[in-house]
């Protein structure tokens, strides 16, 4: 690799040497100079369209946007001259004039990059006349994503997210000039277009233009209703991110405090989605083995590779983009939906409750889970299996609304039943986690031995690399699985729908070498989900991932099939994996959807 040439510049009087290709913004960061930005986001390509990051360069007639201007030899840069400050203030004032400035009623108030900028530059709302379009209608058509054009600053971060990270292109720039806006195909409502509900646009939006549909008011009502038994299960990635919103550093595990807070809020039972994740692993692991047997022994034309179905954004993506390949999806419901179905059958029975009085809430890192909960087929208990999905942000909001001092809370344990979990369930939250959990169980089911990795840690499937692969040779099979003896099980993991597309295109081309693939819609997996605290970037993703694996390491049981409550539920209720009850309650089917 050739060493990059160095470029010498001066920034605010400091001489600096930077590698060729660096921008003015890179140089400023190196020197700890904070240049304000708005359209810039670490995850995305540089747009250079908000113009807030302009700086003065000696000899230039115009100001230079620092995010998109490459350094040139001898450049002399000034970041806070009166000319620069005046320009920035003017630009912010222009954006204010285009904005619905009712911050008091905005969900993103106090966590809004634009609000912070306007405050920092002390911009007067009355500088310019308002050019906010009258009669802008809120798009609340989607179960998951709420779109409010009146809060849009047209930075196009959502557009770039949808195009670059997810390659979905549900959101795009339409029209020009004063009519320019972010919209959908033919201006259709969000629920009619290819939107996968992943919510990545939400966590990349600097303002309140894109937010999740919020349901916490309904939950407060239910908690206050004496006839209702309100339960909540929380996903693994919530406990490693919730603290960020409530005063803890990024990457802090707040499992125990979260449970205490939810009990204080008044949930009758605080349960663990990890239990359902373990259930998913047992069902999905057996489904994989069944598919392999049908392919190898029965010589049936069965769809392989099998692909995970835990991520509802991914599921909707494949329904839109590759509807001819739905048979590759595992028929297993996601942990959220398995939990819901069990809550209103098994749990109701054990607790002696009438399922119609149970309000089942899912605390999720996810926007798509809201849509998933409302899919018409998700009523296998005879009721709506999951009544509401809340994001990590909404849970934090409820904790704040309850006046709880989260920092000072004692730890509590999850309630029972359906509150016991394993390390395998926990790692569902990180990309590669479902695969690792499945392999820990499948390998042992087939061979009776631990998966051949030190401390059960299957390191090749971990991390933020775009597509990960692993091969495991199966040796020493039990008699009933002798057909797998010597088979090299090939697996792959993709996170982010851009990578999912690469995996799918291999399948379409008939060139997929894999038996089993894990796909998560969001970059980094659930820890980077569209329902997670804002901001999210790769540094934050990695810290949340580290917290997930630390949580796994600390668990006494780290294999799904060894979860005592899982053993119990099969003994008392489900009888066997892939059995009749499982088929009714834990498995589902998929729908072909439109391509726009």
């Amino acid at each position: 690799m050739s060493k990059k040439a160095m470029i010498n510049i001066t920034i605010d009087g400091v001489k600096l040497s930077m590698p060729e290709g660096s921008t003015i913004l890179d140089a400023a960061k190196k020197e700890n100079i904070r240049i304000p930005t708005l359209c810039y986001h670490e995850d995305l390509c540089v747009a250079g369209n908000c113009r807030i990051c302009v700086v003065e360069v000696d000899g230039w007639h115009t100001l230079a946007p620092s995010c998109s201007t490459p350094l040139m030899e001898g450049m002399v840069i000034h970041t806070t001259t009166p000319k620069v400050r005046k320009a920035r203030k003017d630009i912010i004032a222009l954006l204010v004039s285009e904005h619905d400035t009712q911050c008091t009623t905005c969900y993103r108030s106090t966590n809004c990059e634009f609000q912070a900028l306007a405050a920092e530059y002390n911009v007067d709302n009355a500088v310019y006349l308002s050019v906010l379009k009258p009669n802008i209608e809120l798009d609340r058509s989607s179960w998951s994503v709420e779109k409010d054009e009146s809060k849009c600053v047209r930075c196009q971060r959502c557009v770039r997210t949808c195009a670059e990270l997810q390659k979905v292109n549900a959101l795009a720039v339409t029209r020009k000039g004063r009519h320019m806006k972010i919209s959908t195909f033919m201006d259709l409502p969000m629920n009619e277009v290819v939107c996968t509900n992943c919510g990545q646009c939400i966590i990349h939006c600097p303002t309140g233009a894109l937010t999740e549909r919020r349901y916490f008011d309904h939950i407060w009502d239910a908690i206050g209703n004496p006839e209702k038994h309100v339960i909540i299960n929380t996903a693994p990635s919530v406990r490693v991110a919730l603290g960020e919103v409530l005063g803890f550093p990024v990457g802090t595990r707040v499992t125990g405090k979260m449970v205490t807070a939810l009990k204080k809020i008044g949930f009758h039972s605080v349960l663990d989605t990890d239990f359902a994740a373990d259930l998913t692993i047992v069902e999905e692991g057996h489904e994989l083995l069944q598919r392999l047997k049908r392919a190898i022994v029965d010589k049936e034309d069965v769809a392989l590779p099998m692909i995970t179905s835990c991520s509802p954004g991914w599921v909707k993506f494949i329904e839109h983009m590759y509807p001819e390949y739905l048979q590759h999806l595992s028929t297993c419901k996601s942990p959220q939906q398995m939990f819901g179905a069990m809550a209103k059958t098994y749990y109701a029975g054990k607790m002696g409750l009438d399922p119609k009085n149970i309000v089942s809430v899912a605390g999720m890192p996810c926007a798509a889970k809201k849509f998933e909960a409302n899919r018409p087929e998700m009523k296998s208990s005879g009721f709506q299996d999951v009544d509401a999905g809340l994001t990590t942000r909404e849970i934090a909001m409820m904790i704040k609304q309850a006046g709880i001092n989260f920092l000072e809370l004692d730890d509590s344990k999850f309630d029972s039943i359906m509150g016991a979990s394993t390390g395998a369930g926990v790692i569902f939250g990180a990309t590669g986690g479902v695969m690792e959990a499945a392999l820990r169980t499948v390998y042992e089911v087939v061979t009776g031995k631990d998966v051949p990795f030190k401390n059960l840690n299957i390191l090749p499937v971990r991390g933020l690399e775009s597509i990960k692969e692993a091969t495991i040779k199966i040796e020493g099979c039990k008699p009933e699985y002798s057909f797998l003896e010597g088979v090299e099980l090939k697996v792959a993991i993709a996170h982010g729908l851009l990578n999912a597309r690469i995996i799918m295109d291999q399948i379409v081309a008939g060139k997929s070498p894999y038996h089993f693939i894990e796909v998560m819609a969001c970059p980094g997996g659930c820890i980077g989900g569209g329902g997670q605290p804002i901001p999210t970037n790769n540094e934050i993703r990695q810290k949340r991932i580290n917290a997930i694996y630390a949580e796994d390491e600390g668990m006494p049981i780290r294999k799904s099939h060894e979860n005592p409550e899982i053993k119990q539920i099969y003994k008392d209720f489900l009888k066997e994996p892939l059995g009749l009850k499982s088929h009714h309650l834990l498995h589902t089917k998929y729908t072909k959807r439109n391509r726009y």
């Binding site: 250079g48 113009r51 807030i52 946007p65 222009l94 954006l95 310019y128 720039v173 000039g177």
Partner: protein, 394 residues
């Protein structure tokens, strides 16, 4: 102040030479020799911005990537400009010839004419002429270069060269960040020269008569002749090929109707010159000249005393508020604010002091907009507001 009397030039539509002969003679020279001739001639882009053509070609020539393109920018959209259409109608062989010369210099095998959507009716004619040209180029001169036509879809901003490239790539017509410039990263990331129709014709002129002869026309920083699209309150509206460097007062004497109160030089994105400054304004590129020298893509709009300059400015601002691509803040919102602002002042909803805030805003737009569109709104805005202030208020 160096100026030239109004002098007509006859090159662009002249029939007294054959394109094939010029190319034949030119192709005998080396690429460096041809390039040097263009650089020496001081030829500047005739689209309006006036970037030195030779330097543009040089940058593309020196790029190490071997696949390169030449694009003829025929997205003539500046209000009051209609010269490129006439060139394509009557002198398309010279346009193709200019493209071939550029292709020779930079090493391109492929070129396009980016044709304004509204000029679609020219396609049959251009195709016919192109077939003749290709036949000559390939069979008589044995030069491997082919031209095609790409039709725009009607957005003004696509005349900006990087928006034009985006549009050709099938994307939204939005200007790119610069640097990098198209001469290094252009169409499909290949080094690309984008030249105005007239520039290409003039590059033929340079190689035909030589840089020294070419430089005898015009003044210091504005060499050669220029096609002017004359419109408005004039008895001689139409296209006129004139030598660069004339005084605006001479121009008005020749083309005015005797009652000219202002001339808009360079279209909506150009400057408005009031009567009292006709004597001190020359037409050419800004350079070492003392006094005011105004560049123009060729649009010269004359207004007589029956015209309201408020209406003129309102019209331009309406145009910009519609034709901004909308991506960058200063241009998208700034154009709306200027428009809404002068309306409010006229109606008395804002005091006349608000004009100062708007002038200051137009300066911010000039400093911070992403492309020439937003940067040049201040030209017409400040020159009209400053010179016709009372018309804005009363």
């Amino acid at each position: 102040m160096e100026t030239k009397k109004i002098k007509r030039v006859d090159f662009i539509f002249s029939q007294d030479f054959k394109v094939s002969e010029v190319l034949f003679n030119t192709f005998k020279k080396t690429r460096d020799e041809i390039l040097q001739e263009i650089i020496d001639s001081d030829l500047k882009g005739r689209g309006g911005a006036g970037f030195p053509t030779g330097l543009k070609w040089k940058a593309a020539k020196e790029d190490k990537i071997t696949e390169k393109y030449i694009i003829c920018n025929a997205d003539e959209g500046e209000p009051g400009t209609f010269k490129d259409r006439a060139i394509l109608e009557e002198a398309s062989q010279k346009v193709f010839g200019g493209m071939a010369i550029c292709a020779k210099v930079i090493g391109a095998k492929k070129g396009w004419i980016y044709l304004r959507g509204e000029y679609k009716f020219l396609i049959p004619h251009l195709r016919k002429e192109m077939a003749i040209f290709h036949d000559m180029l390939h069979n008589e001169l044995g030069f491997d270069f082919t031209i095609d036509i790409f039709t725009g879809s009607g957005a003004y901003v696509c005349g900006e060269e990087t928006a034009l490239l985006q549009s050709m790539e099938g994307k939204r017509g939005e200007p790119r960040n610069k640097p990098p410039y198209p001469t290094n990263i252009g169409l499909y990331n290949k080094p690309t020269v984008v030249n105005n129709v007239e520039t290409l014709v003039l590059s033929m002129m340079v190689v035909k008569i030589g840089a020294e002869e070419f430089k005898k026309l015009g003044i210091q920083d504005a060499r050669g002749g220029k096609l002017f699209s004359v419109s408005g309150d004039t008895p001689k509206s139409g296209i006129h090929e004139l030598e660069f460097g004339m005084l605006l007062s001479d121009f008005v004497e020749e083309f005015g109707d005797g009652d000219t109160k202002a001339v808009q030089v360079g279209g909506a994105s150009g400057f408005c010159v009031p009567r009292k400054k006709f004597d001190t304004t020359t037409i050419g590129y800004k350079g070492k000249l003392k006094g005011t020298s105004l560049p123009t893509g060729g649009s010269m709009m004359l207004f007589n005393s029956s015209r309201s300059m408020y209406n003129v400015l309102h019209n331009y601002l309406e145009f910009f508020a519609e034709e901004s691509c909308g991506q960058c803040t200063p241009c998208r919102v700034g154009t709306q604010q200027l428009l809404k602002g002068i309306e409010a002042i006229k109606k008395g909803e804002k005091s006349h002091e608000y004009l100062e805030a708007l002038l200051s805003l137009s300066e911010t737009m000039k400093l911070t907009s992403k492309c020439g569109l937003g940067q040049s709104v201040a030209n017409s805005f400040s020159s009209i507001v400053e010179n016709f202030r009372e018309e804005m208020i009363y």
